[in-house]
Symmetry: C2
Subunit: 139 residues, 2 copies
Protein backbone atom coordinates (compact mmCIF):
# COMPACT_ATOMS: atom_id res chain seq x y z
CA UNK A 1 0.00 0.00 0.00
CA UNK A 2 1.61 3.16 -1.20
CA UNK A 3 -0.65 6.16 -1.11
CA UNK A 4 1.86 7.84 -3.37
CA UNK A 5 0.88 11.38 -2.66
CA UNK A 6 0.41 11.75 1.03
CA UNK A 7 1.01 15.44 1.35
CA UNK A 8 4.52 15.41 2.59
CA UNK A 9 6.00 13.15 -0.01
CA UNK A 10 8.36 15.47 -1.77
CA UNK A 11 6.73 15.39 -5.15
CA UNK A 12 5.91 18.51 -7.06
CA UNK A 13 2.68 19.09 -5.23
CA UNK A 14 1.10 22.49 -4.92
CA UNK A 15 0.50 22.26 -1.19
CA UNK A 16 -1.42 25.49 -1.00
CA UNK A 17 -3.83 24.46 -3.67
CA UNK A 18 -4.18 20.99 -2.25
CA UNK A 19 -5.09 22.27 1.18
CA UNK A 20 -7.41 24.93 -0.18
CA UNK A 21 -9.24 22.38 -2.31
CA UNK A 22 -9.46 19.96 0.57
CA UNK A 23 -11.17 22.57 2.67
CA UNK A 24 -13.81 23.05 0.01
CA UNK A 25 -14.72 19.40 -0.49
CA UNK A 26 -18.26 18.19 0.02
CA UNK A 27 -19.12 16.31 3.21
CA UNK A 28 -18.68 12.59 2.86
CA UNK A 29 -22.36 12.14 3.69
CA UNK A 30 -23.30 14.06 0.61
CA UNK A 31 -20.74 12.27 -1.50
CA UNK A 32 -22.09 8.95 -0.38
CA UNK A 33 -25.69 9.95 -0.92
CA UNK A 34 -24.91 11.16 -4.42
CA UNK A 35 -23.01 8.01 -5.29
CA UNK A 36 -25.77 5.79 -3.91
CA UNK A 37 -28.40 7.56 -5.93
CA UNK A 38 -26.42 7.66 -9.16
CA UNK A 39 -25.49 4.07 -8.66
CA UNK A 40 -29.17 3.22 -8.63
CA UNK A 41 -29.67 5.20 -11.82
CA UNK A 42 -26.62 3.65 -13.41
CA UNK A 43 -28.26 0.54 -14.73
CA UNK A 44 -30.24 0.22 -17.97
CA UNK A 45 -32.94 -1.87 -16.38
CA UNK A 46 -33.59 0.65 -13.65
CA UNK A 47 -33.51 3.54 -16.09
CA UNK A 48 -36.13 1.72 -18.13
CA UNK A 49 -38.25 1.12 -15.06
CA UNK A 50 -38.18 4.79 -14.13
CA UNK A 51 -38.82 5.81 -17.70
CA UNK A 52 -41.83 3.51 -17.87
CA UNK A 53 -43.21 4.82 -14.59
CA UNK A 54 -42.77 8.37 -15.77
CA UNK A 55 -45.77 7.75 -18.01
CA UNK A 56 -47.97 6.82 -15.09
CA UNK A 57 -48.15 4.25 -12.33
CA UNK A 58 -47.97 0.58 -13.14
CA UNK A 59 -48.35 -2.60 -11.13
CA UNK A 60 -45.36 -4.92 -10.89
CA UNK A 61 -46.99 -7.31 -13.23
CA UNK A 62 -47.60 -4.79 -16.01
CA UNK A 63 -44.20 -3.28 -15.52
CA UNK A 64 -42.62 -6.68 -16.07
CA UNK A 65 -44.68 -7.12 -19.23
CA UNK A 66 -43.77 -3.68 -20.53
CA UNK A 67 -40.06 -4.30 -20.11
CA UNK A 68 -40.18 -8.04 -20.87
CA UNK A 69 -38.46 -8.89 -17.62
CA UNK A 70 -39.26 -11.55 -15.07
CA UNK A 71 -41.49 -10.55 -12.18
CA UNK A 72 -38.68 -11.41 -9.81
CA UNK A 73 -36.13 -9.20 -11.52
CA UNK A 74 -38.53 -6.27 -11.53
CA UNK A 75 -39.46 -6.80 -7.92
CA UNK A 76 -35.83 -6.89 -6.83
CA UNK A 77 -35.07 -3.69 -8.69
CA UNK A 78 -38.15 -2.00 -7.30
CA UNK A 79 -37.03 -2.79 -3.82
CA UNK A 80 -33.75 -1.07 -4.48
CA UNK A 81 -35.44 1.97 -6.02
CA UNK A 82 -37.91 2.06 -3.15
CA UNK A 83 -35.07 2.10 -0.66
CA UNK A 84 -33.74 5.26 -2.25
CA UNK A 85 -37.22 6.75 -2.47
CA UNK A 86 -37.10 6.88 -6.22
CA UNK A 87 -40.37 4.99 -6.54
CA UNK A 88 -43.31 4.55 -4.22
CA UNK A 89 -45.71 1.61 -3.83
CA UNK A 90 -49.46 1.85 -3.49
CA UNK A 91 -51.30 -1.29 -2.58
CA UNK A 92 -54.71 -1.98 -4.08
CA UNK A 93 -55.98 -5.39 -3.09
CA UNK A 94 -53.35 -7.91 -4.08
CA UNK A 95 -51.87 -5.64 -6.69
CA UNK A 96 -49.14 -3.11 -5.93
CA UNK A 97 -48.85 -0.08 -8.13
CA UNK A 98 -45.58 1.77 -8.34
CA UNK A 99 -45.04 5.37 -9.32
CA UNK A 100 -42.19 7.85 -9.32
CA UNK A 101 -41.65 9.23 -5.86
CA UNK A 102 -39.93 12.42 -6.89
CA UNK A 103 -40.19 14.59 -9.93
CA UNK A 104 -36.55 15.60 -9.54
CA UNK A 105 -35.62 12.36 -11.20
CA UNK A 106 -37.11 13.21 -14.56
CA UNK A 107 -35.45 16.61 -14.46
CA UNK A 108 -32.16 14.87 -13.78
CA UNK A 109 -32.75 12.52 -16.70
CA UNK A 110 -33.41 15.46 -18.96
CA UNK A 111 -30.28 17.29 -17.91
CA UNK A 112 -28.15 14.21 -18.23
CA UNK A 113 -29.46 13.58 -21.70
CA UNK A 114 -28.49 17.13 -22.53
CA UNK A 115 -24.98 16.38 -21.39
CA UNK A 116 -24.88 13.32 -23.58
CA UNK A 117 -26.22 15.11 -26.65
CA UNK A 118 -23.72 17.88 -26.05
CA UNK A 119 -21.01 15.36 -26.78
CA UNK A 120 -22.45 14.23 -30.08
CA UNK A 121 -22.12 17.77 -31.39
CA UNK A 122 -20.13 18.62 -34.53
CA UNK A 123 -17.11 20.34 -33.00
CA UNK A 124 -14.87 18.28 -30.73
CA UNK A 125 -14.19 14.84 -32.18
CA UNK A 126 -14.81 12.07 -29.71
CA UNK A 127 -11.39 11.19 -28.39
CA UNK A 128 -12.37 7.92 -26.85
CA UNK A 129 -15.60 6.14 -27.83
CA UNK A 130 -16.33 5.23 -24.24
CA UNK A 131 -14.79 1.80 -24.33
CA UNK A 132 -14.63 1.49 -20.59
CA UNK A 133 -18.32 1.55 -19.85
CA UNK A 134 -19.30 -0.16 -23.04
CA UNK A 135 -18.26 -3.42 -21.52
CA UNK A 136 -20.91 -3.20 -18.88
CA UNK A 137 -23.26 -1.61 -21.34
CA UNK A 138 -23.19 -4.48 -23.79
CA UNK A 139 -23.57 -7.15 -21.18
Amino acid sequence: MNMSADVGDLVQIDLARVRATRGALAASDSVQALADTFSALGDPTRVRILDALSHGELCVCDLAAVLRLSQSAVSHQLRLLRGLRLVRPRRDGRVVFYSLDDQHIMAIFRQTLQHVEEGRKPGAGVREPRTAKRAKADR
Copy 2:
Protein backbone atom coordinates in the same frame (compact mmCIF):
# COMPACT_ATOMS: atom_id res chain seq x y z
CA MET B 1 -35.31 -18.87 -18.39
CA ASN B 2 -38.91 -17.87 -17.90
CA MET B 3 -39.75 -14.37 -18.98
CA SER B 4 -42.90 -14.73 -16.92
CA ALA B 5 -44.88 -11.95 -18.47
CA ASP B 6 -44.51 -12.17 -22.18
CA VAL B 7 -47.63 -10.39 -23.25
CA GLY B 8 -49.78 -13.31 -24.06
CA ASP B 9 -49.35 -15.23 -20.86
CA LEU B 10 -52.81 -15.16 -19.44
CA VAL B 11 -52.04 -13.29 -16.26
CA GLN B 12 -53.97 -10.29 -15.13
CA ILE B 13 -52.13 -7.94 -17.42
CA ASP B 14 -53.64 -4.73 -18.67
CA LEU B 15 -52.71 -5.24 -22.29
CA ALA B 16 -53.85 -1.84 -23.41
CA ARG B 17 -51.78 -0.05 -20.83
CA VAL B 18 -48.80 -2.27 -21.46
CA ARG B 19 -48.82 -1.55 -25.17
CA ALA B 20 -49.42 2.13 -24.68
CA THR B 21 -46.55 2.40 -22.23
CA ARG B 22 -44.29 0.42 -24.48
CA GLY B 23 -44.89 2.83 -27.29
CA ALA B 24 -43.84 5.72 -25.11
CA LEU B 25 -40.56 4.25 -23.89
CA ALA B 26 -37.28 6.04 -24.50
CA ALA B 27 -34.98 4.80 -27.24
CA SER B 28 -32.51 2.24 -26.03
CA ASP B 29 -29.68 4.53 -27.12
CA SER B 30 -30.82 7.10 -24.65
CA VAL B 31 -31.39 4.55 -21.94
CA GLN B 32 -27.89 3.22 -22.42
CA ALA B 33 -26.35 6.67 -22.48
CA LEU B 34 -28.12 7.63 -19.29
CA ALA B 35 -27.10 4.44 -17.54
CA ASP B 36 -23.48 4.81 -18.66
CA THR B 37 -23.29 8.34 -17.37
CA PHE B 38 -25.02 7.65 -14.08
CA SER B 39 -22.88 4.61 -13.65
CA ALA B 40 -19.82 6.82 -13.87
CA LEU B 41 -21.30 9.14 -11.27
CA GLY B 42 -22.28 6.25 -9.08
CA ASP B 43 -19.01 5.81 -7.27
CA PRO B 44 -17.83 7.82 -4.26
CA THR B 45 -14.32 8.18 -5.60
CA ARG B 46 -15.51 9.63 -8.87
CA VAL B 47 -17.98 11.92 -7.16
CA ARG B 48 -15.12 13.21 -5.04
CA ILE B 49 -12.95 13.74 -8.09
CA LEU B 50 -15.64 15.75 -9.82
CA ASP B 51 -16.37 17.68 -6.66
CA ALA B 52 -12.70 18.53 -6.28
CA LEU B 53 -12.43 19.64 -9.90
CA SER B 54 -15.51 21.78 -9.52
CA HIS B 55 -13.31 24.16 -7.53
CA GLY B 56 -10.85 24.56 -10.36
CA GLU B 57 -8.54 22.48 -12.49
CA LEU B 58 -5.97 20.23 -10.84
CA CYS B 59 -3.12 18.09 -12.11
CA VAL B 60 -3.33 14.34 -11.51
CA CYS B 61 -0.69 14.61 -8.87
CA ASP B 62 -2.49 17.26 -6.83
CA LEU B 63 -5.80 15.54 -7.28
CA ALA B 64 -4.34 12.37 -5.80
CA ALA B 65 -3.01 14.37 -2.88
CA VAL B 66 -6.30 16.12 -2.29
CA LEU B 67 -8.22 12.87 -2.16
CA ARG B 68 -5.43 10.80 -0.61
CA LEU B 69 -5.60 8.26 -3.35
CA SER B 70 -2.82 6.60 -5.30
CA GLN B 71 -1.80 8.24 -8.54
CA SER B 72 -2.72 5.08 -10.35
CA ALA B 73 -6.23 4.91 -8.97
CA VAL B 74 -6.86 8.53 -9.87
CA SER B 75 -5.49 8.07 -13.34
CA HIS B 76 -7.69 5.06 -13.99
CA GLN B 77 -10.77 6.91 -12.83
CA LEU B 78 -9.88 9.95 -14.87
CA ARG B 79 -9.68 7.83 -17.96
CA LEU B 80 -13.18 6.62 -17.36
CA LEU B 81 -14.50 10.12 -16.73
CA ARG B 82 -12.65 11.36 -19.80
CA GLY B 83 -14.28 8.71 -21.91
CA LEU B 84 -17.67 10.05 -20.96
CA ARG B 85 -16.53 13.62 -21.43
CA LEU B 86 -17.10 14.47 -17.83
CA VAL B 87 -13.58 15.81 -17.43
CA ARG B 88 -11.08 17.21 -19.89
CA PRO B 89 -7.28 17.10 -19.84
CA ARG B 90 -4.94 19.97 -20.62
CA ARG B 91 -1.30 19.19 -20.97
CA ASP B 92 1.30 21.64 -19.71
CA GLY B 93 4.78 20.21 -19.99
CA ARG B 94 4.83 16.92 -18.20
CA VAL B 95 1.89 17.83 -16.06
CA VAL B 96 -1.68 17.19 -17.10
CA PHE B 97 -4.40 19.36 -15.64
CA TYR B 98 -7.94 18.10 -15.51
CA SER B 99 -11.09 20.17 -15.31
CA LEU B 100 -14.81 19.58 -15.58
CA ASP B 101 -15.85 19.25 -19.19
CA ASP B 102 -19.47 20.19 -18.74
CA GLN B 103 -21.22 22.43 -16.31
CA HIS B 104 -24.33 20.26 -16.54
CA ILE B 105 -22.70 17.90 -14.10
CA MET B 106 -22.69 20.31 -11.19
CA ALA B 107 -26.31 21.17 -11.87
CA ILE B 108 -27.09 17.48 -11.81
CA PHE B 109 -25.25 17.09 -8.53
CA ARG B 110 -27.25 19.93 -7.05
CA GLN B 111 -30.57 18.51 -8.15
CA THR B 112 -29.71 15.06 -6.93
CA LEU B 113 -28.73 16.41 -3.56
CA GLN B 114 -32.10 18.12 -3.47
CA HIS B 115 -33.74 14.78 -4.03
CA VAL B 116 -31.74 13.27 -1.20
CA GLU B 117 -32.52 16.10 1.22
CA GLU B 118 -36.17 15.82 0.28
CA GLY B 119 -36.16 12.39 1.85
CA ARG B 120 -34.69 13.51 5.15
CA LYS B 121 -37.66 15.80 5.64
CA PRO B 122 -39.97 15.56 8.69
CA GLY B 123 -43.07 14.11 7.03
CA ALA B 124 -42.87 10.61 5.57
CA GLY B 125 -40.93 8.26 7.81
CA VAL B 126 -38.14 6.46 6.03
CA ARG B 127 -39.53 3.05 5.24
CA GLU B 128 -36.25 1.41 4.42
CA PRO B 129 -32.93 2.98 5.47
CA ARG B 130 -31.39 2.16 2.18
CA THR B 131 -29.89 -1.16 3.14
CA ALA B 132 -29.34 -2.30 -0.37
CA LYS B 133 -26.83 0.28 -1.46
CA ARG B 134 -25.26 0.60 1.93
CA ALA B 135 -23.34 -2.53 1.24
CA LYS B 136 -21.43 -0.93 -1.58
CA ALA B 137 -21.36 2.32 0.26
CA ASP B 138 -19.51 0.97 3.27
CA ARG B 139 -17.03 -0.99 1.25
